[in-house]
Chain length 254, copies 4
Amino acid sequence: MLHLSKMLFNSFTIMRGLSEFSATALFMVISCMGCSVRDQGASGNLISSLNYGLATVVVMHIFGFISGAHANPCVSIACCLLGYIGSNMMFVYIACQLAGAAFGYFMLLQMLSQGLLDACKQGVCMVEPMNSLSSIQILSIEGFLTSVLILAWSALWDVRSGRFLDSVTLRMGCLVTVCNLAGGHLTGASMNPAKILIPTLFKGNPETVLLQLGGQMLASIIIPQLWIFAYTPNYRPLQIETPERHASELYLSP
Amino acid sequence: MLHLSKMLFNSFTIMRGLSEFSATALFMVISCMGCSVRDQGASGNLISSLNYGLATVVVMHIFGFISGAHANPCVSIACCLLGYIGSNMMFVYIACQLAGAAFGYFMLLQMLSQGLLDACKQGVCMVEPMNSLSSIQILSIEGFLTSVLILAWSALWDVRSGRFLDSVTLRMGCLVTVCNLAGGHLTGASMNPAKILIPTLFKGNPETVLLQLGGQMLASIIIPQLWIFAYTPNYRPLQIETPERHASELYLSP
Amino acid sequence: MLHLSKMLFNSFTIMRGLSEFSATALFMVISCMGCSVRDQGASGNLISSLNYGLATVVVMHIFGFISGAHANPCVSIACCLLGYIGSNMMFVYIACQLAGAAFGYFMLLQMLSQGLLDACKQGVCMVEPMNSLSSIQILSIEGFLTSVLILAWSALWDVRSGRFLDSVTLRMGCLVTVCNLAGGHLTGASMNPAKILIPTLFKGNPETVLLQLGGQMLASIIIPQLWIFAYTPNYRPLQIETPERHASELYLSP
Amino acid sequence: MLHLSKMLFNSFTIMRGLSEFSATALFMVISCMGCSVRDQGASGNLISSLNYGLATVVVMHIFGFISGAHANPCVSIACCLLGYIGSNMMFVYIACQLAGAAFGYFMLLQMLSQGLLDACKQGVCMVEPMNSLSSIQILSIEGFLTSVLILAWSALWDVRSGRFLDSVTLRMGCLVTVCNLAGGHLTGASMNPAKILIPTLFKGNPETVLLQLGGQMLASIIIPQLWIFAYTPNYRPLQIETPERHASELYLSP
């Protein structure tokens, strides 16, 4: 408890929490601002996928070396399970991400006129799974897509890819784009609990949200174990209990 | 005064000013040349966003290591406020950028036939904010998008991202593309006073231009302070009063 | 025989085989999941090409430093002919790739509802050559496109490009995208025997599949010889008989 | 004369010439194969621009470290004028490029069925300038776009960008894409004499071809002088008279 309170007032923790807050807020605004002008069909699907992927690039470029630019509670959970951040830090990250997503969503609603907000198909930033999918299919598709995301973060954090971090931001953008191209019309492919939860507080279908959320959570808990078991050779990641490392040592790998 | 005149005739200053002039001219021509063949709607929006983003990549690739390839007065202002260039140099940059934009715009008008010029929706290179947006919304959207751009430049210049500059050109291209995808249909998302001002001298709505310009200026003044306050750890950037550094030391970070 | 069985139980061999299995399965699911919502024509062609190319980026990013992320029997054959992996390892790779493709295809069928599966033009993940092409044209187009892929892998593995591996994942994604843009409507441009064979086991035209497969196989056998003969200067690649190298030495070049 | 004949039989010269031959042939086939399925208008313009840009990435990835992957006589002329290759080598390059383009074009015609060839708007790989443009406008647009390309190659070869070559292939792809997006509907934006000349030998309008060619040639001769005069600080590029450097020293900069 003392340790937690001490950590909370540490200047690097504040900087990293603030960075996660800003990253998630910025991500919400950029990825949802354009929803009102997209037509349905293949072309609209392509544009919203590109928008979502490129927003990831922007967020990782700006905040990557400050806090790792997770901007996604699933990523922070996986990061903790792989031992790169402590569990206290994980809770700080998740709290900042949820607060940032709410702040960003609120700002977005102020920035758009009422006509634009009404033009969004299912509400601003809302994604509805396709009707013809069963519950287990929604859960498994969302879980699969989030698994791909978590696998990519695990690979990014892995010591073996340490020399190849320059273009990793672009690769993650490609990943988010392709996961949206593949599954965007099926379950929305948000792969991000913060992006699912906040708009739902305003208006949403609690049942399908729980399925999407369940798939995302399952992926963020199972994949790190699998990564350690299957793809980590002899060594194990260091259990870093002190997340007060100097920020300049970090690049996308807090 | 003596210092200014001395600097103006320094060969590196001339080379860098000329580079900003060429960069902005080239940027104006490439990003506006294709306006006449685009249809409205989602597909046209995607193409003009890609065009704008990729033009940024081109300009940063060619002129990045000569002058930093700002090609945007907002970026030069932020660069000065963060202490990477002196204020004299900033004024040289901005003057060269405005002159370059005017030259590029003039060249473009010569290169296109009258029929093509007439086919451009709102005049060549002109962007009009959406009617349904209030003044404060135009100001805040343009300000938000320019803030994202200035944050990205701040991150690029930051000493902590010094090892990850290879693909930074592409990342900035992604950023400009996604900001245009998100806000292009709302306020035009030019994020560049030079690109807003020059076509307006020919034909334009002075009121909305002032709002766009105001948002851009606010972002370029506020964001650097915020970056220094929130995301710069212990050290402060060096106050470089002598911008005559050897150009080979610079890469995208004059 | 003893050597083979010994190798099979080596932990690095298992890790690499598992990685190829996962890579191919993941590749099958991501690249085929979206088939049901694409309309025909230019826009659908662009989206499916981007999907295929970006899926390559994802797979190479995640599994690149574990097993090289071939996910393609042709690539493994070329890798063996160029002497980078032994022939035993090649058979392990190919077996894992085919099993992974089958597993991925099976998972995909479970994840999609019947309506979505029926909406796919020619069956999920199936590609049919254009009717107006002769047999020799199908063989040569598929062979040409696979040759480009094998040439690119040969260049990637070449010692001379060893310093330029950071963005190679993105470049391979560009390559797969452009080969699909160019030839996707002609022969399907799968360039991957695993992706051709598995869906054919369910439903397919054996004759055209043989032509596609023939072109791919020819390319994967001829191009490595050509690369060694024409573009390898004085040295020859080392004949690595012991594929038990420490995995951390590998990056996309097993 | 003796020197030339000696050089011609040097194994590295042969390898580099062969590489230019293959690069140009491959470039012709990939960039022209898809012409038959594209509809006109914005979407078709986007796809053909992407196709052209990504084909550049492929060619530079495969042949970049062997011969520099010019695949374009204009680039070889500029390379010679900047002093990176000797004039003998330049003629070898240009001869190989023209032969490669002819070979690639011939192969392409064999690979496509008659119906596909007839479906191409203006003939396979042919580009016609827009009717409403005057001669001087065609010359200046083609000259401007080729200037951008030559400027980008000059920047690539410059010693100051030597540390940032990893993603340069992708940046050149972006450049070719955006130049096509901007000017593809105006003059065709081929920026490549080999790609203009070869299809014209079969069927073409000699007059407009000369204008395009003139613009390209002017750019490739003027821009290198301008680069040396304006953007090269104290040093001058070494006059390399002996192009027999070991190929492993080269990466995209012969």
